[in-house]
């Protein structure tokens, strides 16, 4: 088409492509940082079932409805379910991962402060879903 410049359109397309690329790269990088488990993280097996959480530490200690961890240490949760789909959530530490029957999903975190926090199920899983709660106790290192 004569007498008509396409430059604004091309610049617009370039800006959109650049922005989308930047957004994708930033999101990808944040996901990578959040998903890479640090070396030496203690594995805790988390089992969800109607309607409570069970935690098994590496040394075989089993806790039900409560979880004791040490501040400044990394923990890798291996999350599974015995019945329906649940979702393991420690809201204060932005830990959220589905517990799916037949699958082991993983998520890690490193508590930064001593204190207690709520653990809850974030996927509607039946009658007592609302009360499928637990408590996270973050304590001083024992040694």
């Amino acid at each position: 088409m004569s007498g008509h410049s396409n430059w604004p359109e091309w610049i617009y397309i370039a800006v959109v492509v650049a922005l989308m690329t930047w957004v994708g790269a930033e999101a990808w990088n944040a996901e990578r940082l959040v998903e890479e488990v640090p070396e030496g993280a203690e594995v805790i097996k988390v089992t969800g079932q109607q309607w409570f959480w069970t935690f098994e530490h590496e040394d075989g200690t089993i806790e039900i409805g409560e979880l004791h961890v040490e501040v400044g240490k990394a923990y890798k949760f291996e999350i599974m379910s015995k019945d329906v789909i649940h979702s393991f959530n420690i809201h204060d530490y932005v830990v959220l991962m589905d517990a799916v029957p037949g699958r082991i999903n993983t998520v890690w975190f490193a508590p930064t402060d001593v204190g207690t926090h709520d653990i809850q199920c974030r996927e509607y899983c039946g009658l007592i879903h609302y009360n499928m709660r637990g408590t996270l106790y973050v304590e001083e290192p024992s040694s």
Partner: protein, 86 residues
């Protein structure tokens, strides 16, 4: 057309190649101790900053277009498509 190629070359050097480089640099090395709350909040904050900036530019451009090309603008000239019989 040559200028277009030049523009995209510059853009790819500035944006696309570093992004791809970053994306393919991932290895199996163990992660660092970091606070996922900070990472996630930072990402959210930057995305929102970009979203609101882009939104403001787009909304501003639309408002300017509506204002500039309104019928009552003294500078408005009918286009050939609209005809000249006013």
């Amino acid at each position: 057309m040559k200028r277009m190629v030049g523009l995209f070359l510059v853009l790819s050097v500035l944006v696309v190649i570093p992004a791809l480089d970053l994306a393919f640099a991932q290895g199996d090395e163990p992660g660092e101790y970091l606070d996922r709350r900070v990472i996630i909040w930072n990402l959210f904050f930057r995305m929102m900053a970009v979203a609101f900036t882009v939104g403001a530019v787009v909304a501003g451009t639309m408002m300017w277009i509506v204002w500039r090309f309104r019928e009552s603008n003294p500078k408005a000239k009918p286009t050939a498509y609209e005809g000249t019989d006013w």
